[in-house]
């Protein structure tokens, strides 16, 4: 009898957990891949050179559809990794000759101003993201602490 009471209590707890989930406002949580701090480029390596990461999308409801885009919205870089002195882009600094590509379930070339999706899905998902950068012998080798840098905007949205 005591067991049945406990069982009922457990189910009440379950209901108490589930009901607010379905009643609460829809939410989305976007976690970008881990930072790529030191990407070493070498034109003698197979091209394009790649780095991978995981973008996590969490949504409230398992049935929520979402979209994920990757863009470079900075007019200075506009899709091209650009010389960075550690605090800002170098005025008149070097730029790689090829724009960066980013792929998940589909591939886009930055800046991707049109905002084409790199992934769409339903419910909580970990999206594997690959950054692809072609390097050539005509790209300038940077000296000192200067690096090539780009800022990628990952935008998630629950669809209307």
């Amino acid at each position: 009898m005591r067991g049945l009471c406990l069982l009922s209590a457990v189910f009440i707890l379950m209901l108490a957990f589930i009901l607010p989930q379905s009643a609460q406002a829809q939410s989305i949580e976007v976690t970008p891949p881990a930072n790529i701090t030191d990407w070493v480029f070498n034109p003698s390596l197979p091209q394009p050179q790649t780095q991978t990461g995981t973008c996590v999308i969490n949504v409230t409801n398992a049935t929520d559809n979402w979209t994920l885009t990757a863009q470079d919205l900075n007019a200075t870089t506009s899709g091209y990794m650009t010389e960075w002195d550690g605090s800002s882009y170098v005025t008149g600094g070097a730029k790689l000759h090829n724009a960066m590509n980013i792929s998940a379930t589909s591939e886009v070339m930055l800046p991707n101003v049109a905002g084409t999706n790199i992934a769409t899905g339903t419910g909580n998902t970990s999206v594997s993201v690959t950054f692809k950068q072609e390097i050539g012998y005509n790209d300038v080798v940077l000296s000192g602490t200067h690096v090539y840098r780009i800022v990628v905007t990952f935008t998630g949205s629950i669809t209307a």
Partner: protein
């Protein structure tokens, strides 16, 4: 009994724990609650939409910015944040939305509530009202690749008491006849309200037989007016398509409940071997006298028709990269062997379907470089009639404009090549060259002897 109860309790606890663990646990990023607003609102009414913006305990402190943007949409359904100058949609409610805060700082584990006040004017119009609330961080991360984390909150309002029009039209069908056959249908939401739609595509042959079908799921995001969406499907017919034949794509776009929005038919031609695919020009004629087809830019040709009457069908004009392989007799074979007895300059294909009578006048343009080494007056136009290379009727040559033209019965244009050829300027014979060389040497020797004799006399 007590034991059973304990098992049941343990089982229930496990289920509870699993349910609690259901959301994917990961390093927390930018979290927005109230991430969609799909309210119904009357003209003149004001509503509010609350959003909670937060970051996780383990995240670095972050500066957050919130903006109201125009609601744009790309062909794959992705949302585009439009600036004021680009937000020209008649259904935009961007300018009717105000935010109680546009920038704030979040320390780890903190969240802030942002309220959007949406004041709909009386004269808002009918249908839907759209905008995006764009929430984004400052760039984070040092080194090679940094990030901005962002969330678009779609505002998709229904203007209550107004007519909601769900209409649309197919504006383009493009076909890639490779294997599998890739079909893209571009569909425009011409109504005043958003909806999800789906696409069904059928492949038919000239006789109307259905060779393959494919269908998409409903779009994962609604198509917002006045934007377009591009459906993509692949078709894999059981049998290979025949080169040189016309096939038809029937594309049908419906709402989720199968209500028809639009259907369109598009034909495509499967290139014959050796065809330069960049040169293909296809014209569809619907119950009319076929117009002059100017394919000079792509296929060096102009085609006009006589005596066809009003017809429905398709005309394809294309250029060959080399002598076509379909004819069993070489173009340059002697006339009594079914050839033309001429050297080929170039070949084109004119394919016609749906026409039963009349003639086609073909004007083939050529360049001086193409006929270099040919006797221009000898140029001729011939077509492969299935058995022999047949000279076109009424051939005329305009050497001033570099055009040769001729008439070919429409009945012969069911997948046959035609070629322009001519006679080569005869090459100089070696014996003649040797004779001229010997003569020149003899003259030089005579002159040399003559000058030597003159010099001796002077001494």
């Amino acid at each position: 009994m007590v034991k059973l109860s304990r098992y049941l309790i343990a089982f229930s606890l496990v289920i509870c724990l699993l349910l609690l663990a259901a959301p994917v646990s990961a390093d927390p990023g930018l979290k927005v609650t109230g991430a969609k607003c799909t309210a119904s609102v009357a003209p003149g009414q004001t509503i509010t939409h609350r959003m909670t913006v937060g970051i996780g305990e383990s995240d670095p402190a972050m500066d957050i910015f919130v903006d109201v943007k125009g609601f744009g949409q790309s062909l794959d359904g992705a949302y585009q944040e439009l600036e004021v100058q680009d937000d020209t949609s008649p259904y935009s409610v961007r300018e009717f939305i105000t935010l109680d805060k546009r920038a704030f700082h979040l320390d780890p584990g903190e969240s802030q509530e942002v309220t959007a006040t949406i004041s709909i004017p009386e004269d808002v119009g009918s249908g839907g009202g759209y905008a995006l609330i764009y929430i984004h961080s400052k760039p984070t991360g040092e080194g090679s690749v940094g990030y901005v984390t962002a969330v678009d909150v779609p505002i998709a309002l229904t203007i209550s008491g107004t007519e909601l029009i769900k209409t649309g039209e197919i504006t383009d069908i493009s076909v890639s006849p490779d294997k599998p056959i890739a079909v893209s249908t571009t569909f425009h939401n011409s109504g005043n309200y958003h909806y999800r739609a789906k696409n069904e595509v059928k492949l038919k042959d000239e006789a109307g037989n259905i060779l393959a079908t494919a269908a998409t799921s409903p779009t994962s995001s609604s198509i917002i007016p006045p934007y377009s969406y591009q459906f993509k499907v692949s078709l894999s017919p059981e049998q290979e398509l025949s080169p040189g034949k016309i096939y038809y794509i029937v594309s049908r776009v419906t709402l989720e409940d199968d209500t028809l929005l639009d259907t369109e038919e598009e034909s495509f031609w499967v290139p014959l071997p050796g065809i330069d695919e960049a040169s293909i020009v296809k014209v569809t004629v619907e119950n009319e006298a076929p117009p002059l087809i100017d394919a000079v830019d792509k296929a060096d040709s102009e085609v006009s028709f006589n005596g066809t009457g009003n017809v429905s069908g398709v005309v394809v004009i294309a250029k060959y990269k080399e002598e076509p392989s379909v004819p069993t007799i070489s173009f340059s074979a002697p006339e009594d062997k079914g050839g033309t007895g001429k050297e080929a300059v170039k070949f084109i294909e004119v394919y016609v379907t749906g026409f039963t009578a009349g003639t086609a006048n073909i004007k083939l343009h050529y360049t001086d470089a193409e006929i270099s080494g040919f006797v221009e007056d000898s140029l001729t136009l011939s077509y492969w009639d299935g058995n022999i290379w047949q000279a076109a009727d009424n051939i005329s040559l305009d050497s001033a404009t570099n055009v040769i033209s001729g008439d070919i019965p429409v009945s012969a244009l069911g997948g046959t090549a035609m070629g322009m050829g001519g006679t080569k300027i005869p090459a100089m014979k070696w014996s003649l060259i040797i004779e001229i060389a010997c003569g020149a040497v003899a003259v030089i020797l005579i002159l040399l002897v003559y000058f030597l004799l003159i010099r001796r006399r002077r001494r």
